[in-house]
Symmetry: D2
Subunit: 346 residues, 4 copies
């Protein structure tokens, strides 16, 4: 039987490259086409030597495929995807263009008028842990942002159980591949190495995405989310530390609260193939190169604070790996197909 043909639009960024890495070793699909602007016409392996086993030329236009991943920049992506859907091609969009349900937010956060507000309603936010069955049934998945993946998975069980009703602080720490492959002083090795800094203090585009998904879990409360991303001198990984006051009375008192919290998280993620509750604070390095999200829920009885931590590889669970998970769901394949790598450690 012929394998499902898949393609990657704009393979030349880090999410696109990571998709190529994963899809080239996926046993049930065939990567038949990759596109890119600057590098069009060149062999994929000539531009990206670590992919030299993949025998493809970077094309300017996608060949015929059954399912396409779009790794285009936001705004461009929506425009490029609509014709694909019209041709009956399933699409997983790595960009932000179909993540937000409220079209007005694209004007506010991304500065453009969304070309297809009605598609926003059909698109499914591609977080399998929250929307598994919708993903399996849709033609268009909006793959979550890297920061939202870490933040939502850290917080979802607590928000869902009503442990949090007021404000949340999300302090996220990302490796520098999250800043993309485009050259800026921010990503110059000599300037980024041995440095840590916060950015986007006036609000980061991933904030509405986090807010949308968490309020879906607990619609009766509007929770204010203060989200601050940081860049650290490492290549991959996002550690998210989320803080929120525990709603009084929701957990047992003292040390018992910790056990209840841990149980609540274990139950929420019981059958999830890619989420693990860890006994000690999560390390980003334990997810290096694989699709796991390691979650560690903690409670500080002195201050009544929940401290909810997650670790992911921003390019795998935070982008390409989760996209392949979505693809598996859309194609009716076992969810972990092609995604069973052990983290490369140390």
């Amino acid at each position: 039987m012929a394998k499902t043909r898949v393609g990657i639009i704009n393979v030349t960024g880090y999410a696109g490259l990571e998709l190529a890495r994963l899809l080239s070793r996926h046993p049930e699909v065939e990567l038949v086409s990759v596109t890119g602007r600057s590098a069009a016409g060149k062999a994929l392996g000539a531009v990206f030597p670590h992919l030299s086993d993949i025998d493809l030329t970077i094309a300017s236009k996608l060949a015929e495929v059954d399912l396409a991943f779009s790794a285009m920049p936001h705004k461009d992506s929506a425009g490029g995807i609509i014709p694909l859907l019209d041709n009956g091609i399933k699409v997983i969009d790595i960009s932000a263009d179909f993540r937000l349900k409220d079209a007005s937010q694209y004007q506010e956060w991304y500065g453009f008028t969304h070309p297809s507000p009605q598609l926003l309603q059909q698109a499914v936010y591609g977080m399998p842990e929250l929307h598994r069955s919708s993903i399996a049934a849709t033609e268009l998945v909006a793959n979550p942002g890297c920061y939202p993946t870490g933040a939502i998975l850290a917080l979802a069980p607590a928000v869902n159980a009503g442990l949090i009703e007021s404000s949340i602080v999300v302090d996220s720490k990302s490796g520098i591949s999250g800043a993309g492959r485009t050259l800026t002083m921010t990503t110059h090795f000599a300037e980024a190495n041995e440095d840590t800094t916060a950015y986007a203090l006036d609000g980061h585009r991933h904030q509405p995405e986090i807010a949308q998904e968490l309020s879906n879990l607990h619609p009766e409360h509007s929770v204010a989310i203060t989200f601050v991303p940081h860049l650290l001198p490492m290549t991959r990984g996002i550690l998210t530390t989320a803080y929120a006051p525990l709603v009084p009375g929701k957990l047992a008192s003292g040390e018992k609260a910790k056990d209840e919290l841990k149980q609540l998280y274990a139950d929420f993620y019981r059958d999830e193939p890619f989420v693990r509750i860890t006994d000690s604070p999560s390390h980003t390095k334990h997810t290096w190169g694989n699709n796991l999200c390691l979650v560690h829920p903690a409670f500080n009885p002195r201050t009544g604070s929940l401290i909810l931590i997650s670790a992911i590889d921003n390019l795998v669970k935070g982008a390409a790996g989760n996209a392949v998970h979505n693809m598996n769901l859309m194609l009716g394949l076992p969810e972990t197909t092609g995604l069973n790598a052990v983290a490369v450690f140390p």
Copy 2:
């Protein structure tokens, strides 16, 4: 005129080494004695080649000095310092043994009964920005912890002005030299590199120190502080991101609030030689090797949150450099003597 003779007890840790580096180039004092246990009897430069210009042997016992720095571990330090004070030697203690005013907290946080509770009252918490005149007048300075230095300097102006009344989240990100020179898996390059993790979720020993100093600034409110330290793959630097809800009505509305906040910080630190308010989020790398604390106060009008950021070199402003600052005050020297290095960048 003879220079003031100074010595370092336990030079072999990173704070001790950094003291040796700074004191060896200080124009008004002479480093005449350094002690250490494991390396006693060896030339300082033989064990630590970067200090080979300092012609001293590591001794097992401190020679005659006018002022001593103790870089001993906590608990040992108190015991070692008391006889020095009895002999009229001024002491700057790098350990935690005289930082907390409430002796019972030593039992709670450090697990030992403090040997001299009355000395706790005489000791001065060595943060010049808060206790300048007391430092100049005392014989015993308790040099602040590295995390408290970053946290207190980020928060002090806001707490002092009554902008914060309820809870504070302090998310601190430290380079690995903060974990000390002792060998552990935590500091193994292969395990620490490309990793980020949180630790001490049940409470870190620096928490009571932060709480003590901030409540002194605003005694009428008891503020709950959730402090979580993190280790990042860099050698030096602490970035502190502190979050607190702004007390309504304390600042103008909207964008104006940002200007007011910045002005309030600029006023608080107006004459401070080592604190700078930065226009963009502080970078740890801009303090590499020097005694500056770079503070960036921000306000998010969407959520009403203050986001207060500071960057320091944990071994300089967070330890040895600040200790030299204290020494300058105790000796009546200009405050910046020996501390005017420009950050080594990149």
Copy 3:
């Protein structure tokens, strides 16, 4: 049909851990036993969270297996392996104990009398590119050292073709995982980060291994090898830069020599599944996490020097991955089984 049962003796070092990672995902064998001294009795995933999918307890004694990997330290390994062989268990030894054919060299380089000189003759040096058929036929493989793997693969085609007859300089640059998991100041993050240094200038134990294999390729000349290893601030990877004067007349003159050299290398490694000749100087990062050796042969006509470069992941091609390759050969499996990972880049 039952899978071949394999085990790892001393799983707790980096080579052992990497074997566990690879074997746990190998489709044709079952990892049934892992041993370790300090951690015996604990679940593998409790000590090494990135391996928590492997449901094994670290044992003090190896269970019944068909093939064993020994990751014991040298000297101990020989003693532990002999009884296994007596019981008909195939063995791949990661230590140095069976790599050298001349027993007297164990006295000289390792400081012990080899317990079984006759086994040295039966053991096969496990470099498939040189000894494929012998590996397939033996019960005991001596897996090459990490530095020799890089050095020999960089030099073998040139030595074999008689291009080199006098002296060779091998300048090797290794990531810090090569120094092992044992704690030393050398591997402390704060000391190793942002540092580069050479070591073992009086001769490194991997030197006789390199010499043995290269002289086998060209027995008529005795080539003096100056081998100097260096440690760099990265976790994985060995870049080897080997220098040798070209024997005059062996290649065409000028630029043509470069093409001939490249062709000679391409021919030598034509059917090798894990060696690639690269068009530009090899990057260690292009082998991160996989079993490739990237070789770049160059010639400088100004000086008449060959510059022969290779890049490997020291824990995969330089240790565990190559051991799995050997296992595949010994078990008659397709050589690339379980080893087809694409490098994790960036």
Copy 4:
């Protein structure tokens, strides 16, 4: 007495920035002018926050100075310097434009016709260890390249003593700041981190510089130099490992040769303020931020090879610090003025 006024042309590269750092703290000169193209008109501290203590605006044209440092790119630098010299301004050129005595080499290695071959003869190669008195007497110093500084200082005593007569291999390992501040994929953190590679295998522009100075030391022999630079994942530092066969009979046999070699090096550099002979292999980290060159000469009796190692901070001894050393000589100041920093370690 008025201080000597100095200026920096093109302050915006890493050598320029490092000059600004050092000159701003130099007690005998005043930094009165800095120029730059892209950033002209902006405050120096606004563009480079670590220099915010320097109260200067980046100008498009140099103000009146007594001595100028040119950090312009090669080719531009020569053109910019000639008018300064005509106006009686002393110049230290950080570029390569006056380093080579043979004008034809500019055509060969840099691809341009040198505008002033006669100035090449007047310019002094600014390595104080070799040309101290000429530097003190000249108006134009050509500051050495970073790689040549490490290579020449490692090799000079041995070449000078006639220990080396045939070929030399220079394997240099540089931190990434050596690649400059200009943005390229080579310096992108995500691509450079955890990577090591060689480059310029066909010949690097620093090769003729090394050859020129070494042949001056031993004109009767023409030594072939194979120089290969490498980039490593660190910000600062160059480790140079140079290899050469010892001319037989030049040193005592066996272990004694090592002592003789060490003594020869100690004698050669006896009164040098910035060169140290180390007992163990040099570490780049022991020079971080200061002007030292740490040299470790070794001899391997097995192979008869000299292994000559040096470590420098590429931006200090390899560029700006050495330039300040030259300035001190030109101005008749004590050589170490403004250059006595202890390395920042760890």
